[in-house]
Subunit: 201 residues, 2 copies
């Protein structure tokens, strides 16, 4: 818990606009430095106004909900796939299990960070933290999508192309693939929002 402390900071910074405006008024009354004082007031105002986190970004209830959905569906894909006894014979299904474990761990750890930020009412708009979240989301999202697509290819091959579902757990494979896709669909908004807030700061 102590490790996440440096990445959080208060949402509401004490607005220095009032102080700067008072200084500007004094300077204007003194005369001569009117242009410079107006310049200073212009620069000080955006520092006091802080944009609210968009829903779904880290440290908001929406972001926490997205993380929990990702972790739940990744865990479901893992459980359904691991419940079949013949998944280790296909590399793509082993890869799906590995990707689901990684996705579940990543989403759960970020959910813990979100819960902490919500409990202490702090924002997670630290540039380094957002950069780490974006890169992690990009990597886990690519791996999860790849695993889901590989499993879908094998499942369609078994079920539609070869018609050997009688000897295989087609229903379990399809369910696990669908869960992995849903987990990826829940991850995509987090990744896009994080990247957006990293690029637009």
């Amino acid at each position: 818990m102590r490790a996440s402390r440096p990445v959080v900071h208060p949402v509401e910074a004490p607005p220095p606009a009032a102080v700067a405006a008072a200084a500007a008024a004094v300077a204007v009354e003194a005369g001569g430095g009117g242009g410079a004082a107006a310049h200073g007031g212009e620069n000080a105002q955006p520092r006091g106004v802080r944009m609210k986190d968009p829903p779904g970004s880290p440290g908001t209830p929406g972001g926490l909900g997205l993380r929990l959905v990702q972790a739940f569906f990744a865990a479901a894909a893992l459980a359904v796939m691991a419940s079949t006894d013949d998944f280790p014979s296909v590399s793509a299904f082993c890869y799906l299990v590995a990707a689901a474990i990684l996705q579940c761990l990543w989403s759960l750890s970020l959910a813990v960070v979100d819960i902490y930020a919500l409990l202490v009412k702090r924002s997670l708009r630290n540039p380094q933290a957002v950069c780490i979240f974006t890169i992690g989301d990009g990597i886990t999202g690519t791996l999860t999508l790849g695993a889901a697509c590989a499993s879908a290819g094998i499942t369609v091959l078994i079920g539609n192309d070869l018609n050997i579902c009688a000897n295989n757990h087609c229903a379990s494979f399809e369910t696990a693939t669908a869960m992995a896709f849903i987990s990826w669909f829940a991850l995509a908004p987090s990744c896009v929002l994080n990247f957006w807030s990293m690029a637009s700061r």
Copy 2:
């Protein structure tokens, strides 16, 4: 060619900073409006300074090179996969062919737009154009990655898990999959750069 005209605009806008600065100087000399004039000069300056396109973004030689690499490797994946006679029996390989066709058409059309922008020395930083490029890159990139992963899953199943390469064109399938992955790797920077420039404007 005429359809792409509205999305381009000149790189070098005539800088209005000089005019604004002259007006500000006149106002300061007249006295009384010093603060307002400095304010006007402050606002006018960023409009004259235009950020240079980062290498790899649309309308630059790097962007054109990325598009040509994407189109070349997508066409290579398509050609290698279509050269095998049994690819229609596997759904994932048909999907790879379809995704490679889409990727090739998309990259070639954007390469044409890039060539046009380079020939007439214009920038493609129009917000609507960048938005369309980003969404198109995202969709084609997801489809290409999905197709490549599905083909890779099938190829690994045939070659490593079942060891039936003797009856199949394993080398062709592996080559086509690798080409699709390379095409996706060339697409990713375009997509990230477009999204970055869309978010940071």
